[in-house]
Symmetry: C2
């Protein structure tokens, strides 16, 4: 395969393993698997899930829901608060597939009731500790009032609660991820006990990849919605969700300059390719990606003491060692393991398989 | 105009003013104006420059150079180190337009000499303090050796030096920006004095928007290449390069949820729309955008004590005051002034004029 510019390579075998592993775990634990497709954003990668027996999916926008519906998906949750301006699109879509919407206020549900005339499922977003969005999990009374309103609605069915513990991304270790998850489930269980008294039995849908990768006890959960696990990334490896060998995408970048005084490489590969997410190492360095060499079967483990230290629009600057610097030639391609694969995929808008086949997403031209 | 989703609005009048002001300044100072088009990335916005009398431009990739060449631009500098893998595309392009390439090592120039058979202009990238890329400005001997090699080449003409003082973006105030600029020019002047002894008289091309907006004395400069000034953004306002009223793009976003406990709004507008660049305020808050209301003629000044505090893939979280929270309804659209307009444009890949006309970029489908 002849590469010309920054190219997002996908290792299908690794993806299939990641899909298989999470699917198996869900089955073993007796929970429904409704993977989030916002990470790969691709009909073709979606087929790999379908071939593994997946039938229900999660997306994060109406646009993405329409794309996957047009590729044969018939059971889609939009895990993002209803955007009133897209009522027409939601109505159209809900006529043809099972569409679940997310709301987190009476105001939003009243809008849905008045404007969405096709049948939908309704999930309520619950804030069980992340404090980004959702109704606080301990606000039992208001949650009950909202559920009763939904239960009285003509076109809409109450599905349950969507919980996303995005705070696991700020955890220091896997113990903390487990603690965040179990504390959140414990609060959700109190809410469920309260609703039980009113004979209301919501489904509990949880989401984040760190928890879903690390915990082994899925008690109290009915459905899981991880997304990132299909590719993983440096952030997930750093959190303990995966090993380097599980990361299934890499950005191939041409080396365009070297600086021997500073032991730095310049690559064609910047913020417009990788996105600006970073992790911070123990020395306080911001790490925007790790560096790998390619071999016949794909790519190797990251080079030691070597990382992307900064990104401009098209430039990436790699800090490395004098020894590695000697091994890398201007004009050669090296691989960058992304810190946040969802955003890198969104930037690149298409993949190349290891054999050079183009794999498109909902944003490919 | 009926908005449905996050939409990047452009205020043409403000752009035209920004273009006019920089063009005037260049003329007054007697320097060539070769604006960087990586900020707007748009043939149509390019026409506004052409109408203002601009004939030569700067871009940051071969892909962008091809796009603008196909829209009639005949004098283009690619201010990014030559990517060897695109030699064929460079050869093709250099047959039809005046193409200037950027190199920063003998290795890169030898590749160009051996592989680029169409005539090009060659700029050498000089590092005058930013330490991202380029040959150190005080490495007089190696710079001379490289220039002599270029002067002996058949197909290539030595143009001069490209300097980009990106470190002005980290300046604390406008005095510091002036100091960085003048120190850099003073080092370049020493290099010029040395080359003068060898009867070599390079053009000096400088770039960054903060310096070009703030300094009033362009001595020692032959050409300026600012890009961001066409739109400016919150980062530039914060640096002192512009006022809020000069910012010419805004991301219109639907409000999808409110949290009265935390005085927060949730918008449909996240990292995939704005990019993750931020500035840090005096209280240590990371600010990913400022919030404006729309009116009949466009948008107003930013709301006080209100800012985008975090971004996920599609979500933006806005911190505001109880008073403002009351004024903003779920379902309404508010405007977000971007922190870094170049990256926001790249994310959105098209604009809407204030009248609702679509304006495309080189990445529009």
């Amino acid at each position: 395969m002849k590469l010309k510019r920054p190219t997002l390579l996908i290792d299908k075998e690794k993806c299939l393993q990641n899909i298989h592993k999470m699917k198996e775990k869900a089955e073993r634990q007796g929970v429904k698997f409704r993977p989030h497709f916002k990470t790969h954003q691709s009909a073709e990668v979606g087929e790999w899930f379908r071939n593994a027996g997946v039938e229900a999916i999660t997306v994060s926008s109406v646009t993405m829901a329409r794309y996957f519906a047009s590729h044969g998906w018939k059971d889609i949750s939009i895990a993002f608060p209803v955007n009133f301006a897209e009522a027409d699109e939601i109505n159209m879509l809900a006529k043809t597939i099972r569409l679940n919407l997310l709301i987190e206020s009476m105001e939003a549900f009243v809008f849905v009731e008045d404007n969405i005339k096709s049948k939908t499922g309704i999930f309520i977003k619950i804030d069980a500790g992340y404090h980004r969005t959702g109704i606080p999990v301990d606000d039992h009374e208001n949650i009950l009032i909202l559920i009763l309103e939904i239960l009285h609605a003509h076109h809409h069915e109450f599905e349950g609660f969507i919980v996303h513990n995005g705070n696991t991304y700020h955890a220091g270790n896997t113990d903390e991820i487990q603690r965040i998850h179990h504390e959140s489930i414990s609060k959700v269980n109190s809410l469920k006990a309260f609703l039980d008294l009113h004979d209301i039995h919501p489904k509990i849908s949880v989401g984040d990849t760190p928890s879903m990768s690390i915990i082994s006890d899925f008690s109290g959960i009915d459905e899981i919605r991880p997304g990132n696990f299909v590719f993983y990334d440096v952030m997930q490896q750093n959190l303990g969700s995966c090993g380097f060998a599980d990361i299934a995408v890499v950005l191939a970048c041409p080396v365009v300059a070297k600086n021997t005084d500073r032991n730095e490489l310049v690559i064609y590969g910047g913020a417009i390719h990788l996105s600006k997410d970073f992790i911070t190492d123990n020395d306080g360095n911001r790490i925007f990606g790790l560096v790998v060499f390619f071999d016949k079967s794909g790519w190797q483990e990251p080079l030691p003491n070597t990382f992307v230290k900064s990104l401009s629009q098209e430039h990436g600057i790699i800090k490395t060692t004098p020894e590695q610097l000697k091994n890398i030639k201007i004009g050669s391609f090296i691989g960058i393991l992304p810190v946040h694969s969802c955003l890198t995929v969104h930037q690149m808008r298409e993949f190349s398989s290891l054999k050079g086949e183009r794999i498109t997403t909902y944003l490919s031209c």
